[in-house]
Amino acid sequence: MRDGRVVKGVRFRNHRVVGDILELAQRYRDEGADELVFYDITASPDGRGVDRAWVNQVARLLDIPFCVAGGIRSVHEAEQVLAAGAEKVSVNSPALANPALIGELARRFGTQCVVVGVDSQTRDGDYVVQQYTGSEAHVRDAERRTLEWVPEAVSRGAGEIVLNCMASDGVRHGYDLAQLAAVRRVCSVPLVASGGAGTLEHFESVFREAGVDAALAASVFHSGSITIPELKSFLRQRGIEVRI
């Protein structure tokens, strides 16, 4: 999300407008998405909170859970988003700046409301966390190892982890199975894979080989190269449990 439109980039850069928020929300609802995540990608780098007006409009439209990410820096800001009808809030850069925020949110709203998003880059055979990734000008190294930050976030009260593998994002060559499997081993709450889906088989392998609980994708759905009904019937044929 940027300036009221849905945008998608490649490896977190060169974002292009792909559509209107409400039109896309309705399309994915009707196609059978299980959950939608809305990233207000420039909220944290710009130092502003999430604009709540669209959250309320989305909540009126959607009959499935949805999560709002971007610029949630306080219990108060999270409360506004949840009261507007979101099911969950996702924190990323603000949690890195102030890890205690995760626990404050979990105590106030319950761990089931609190998602921690982790933008992770591969470096020298290890995985490192990136901060302020929504802006090419502000992105920086968070100076934390992914395999340490994920268990810390969980112990502080994260009810779910979304792992965005940045090197794979938007290029559609498949999820980063090795990284996701490594994080799976240290993550005791639901783990959502993000970044890299390009084919139906990529979704099958991320469930089978990385053991994730859910797979998030954007580019393939926005472009229409994969539709949600075809993906779900494919996964069911391959013996993976999905809601149809």
Binding site: G32, A59, L82, E87, D213
Partner: protein, 200 residues
């Protein structure tokens, strides 16, 4: 649905907007109220709930609704914690509840691969005829978010399995309950709400 006056009991939770919007999608006008008179005059009453059982019961006692709700004669649907409050008690803080249905909400036992809270889509197994479940098939998916659950009992009309079977839907006389969130359960949830609003 002429003459339908739906009231959502204002139980002070943060997610009441979602339920209001779900009813608006069904073109049903809805009032949010904690007023005993307004609730008694409703044709249908919805009792939502999030948070802890003790806090929710304290609020219902403080505004006198703990006395009013068990005596209602119109259809009432308790949702999530709202369903648990219909029973005698909850193990959550060892809380006495409304006592309309016999039983006690128990904490779900966590296990490897089954974190608590139970959060996400899971399947319903209808096990008794109930107008609330009309048109909802065995294996239909509903969206759950909860850490406590009611064991199976005579009141159970649909079960769900999360390591152990628990009550996903219950009914006794005019009192109905859904442990999942119909407002977030796509067409299955909309069907359940429509079924409820068609009760007289």
């Amino acid at each position: 649905m002429n003459g339908t006056r739906v009231v959502i009991v204002d139980s002070g939770g943060a997610n009441i907007a979602s339920l209001e919007f779900a009813l608006q999608r069904l073109q049903v006008p809805v009032t949010l109220s904690a007023d005993a008179g307004e609730i008694r005059a409703a044709s249908h009453v919805l009792l939502p709930g999030v948070g802890a059982a003790g806090d929710a019961m304290a609020r219902l006692r403080a505004n006198g609704l703990a006395q009013v709700i068990p005596r209602l004669t119109q259809p009432l649907l308790g949702i999530c914690l709202g369903m648990q409050l219909l029973f005698e008690s909850s193990a959550e803080g060892d809380t006495p509840c409304l006592g309309i249905l016999p039983g006690r909400a128990q904490r779900l036992p966590p296990a490897a691969g089954r974190p608590v809270p139970h959060m996400g889509w899971n399947t319903l197994q209808p096990c008794a005829a109930s107008p609330l479940l009309s048109g909802i098939e065995c294996g239909a998916y509903a969206y759950f978010v909860h850490s406590y659950a009611l064991p199976l009992s005579e009141a159970t009309t649909a079960s769900c399995d999360y390591g152990l079977a628990f009550s996903a839907c219950v009914q006794r006389a005019n009192f109905f309950g859904a442990q999942f969130h119909p407002e977030r359960s796509a067409q299955v949830g909309a069907r359940l709400l429509r079924n409820f609003l068609e009760l007289h």
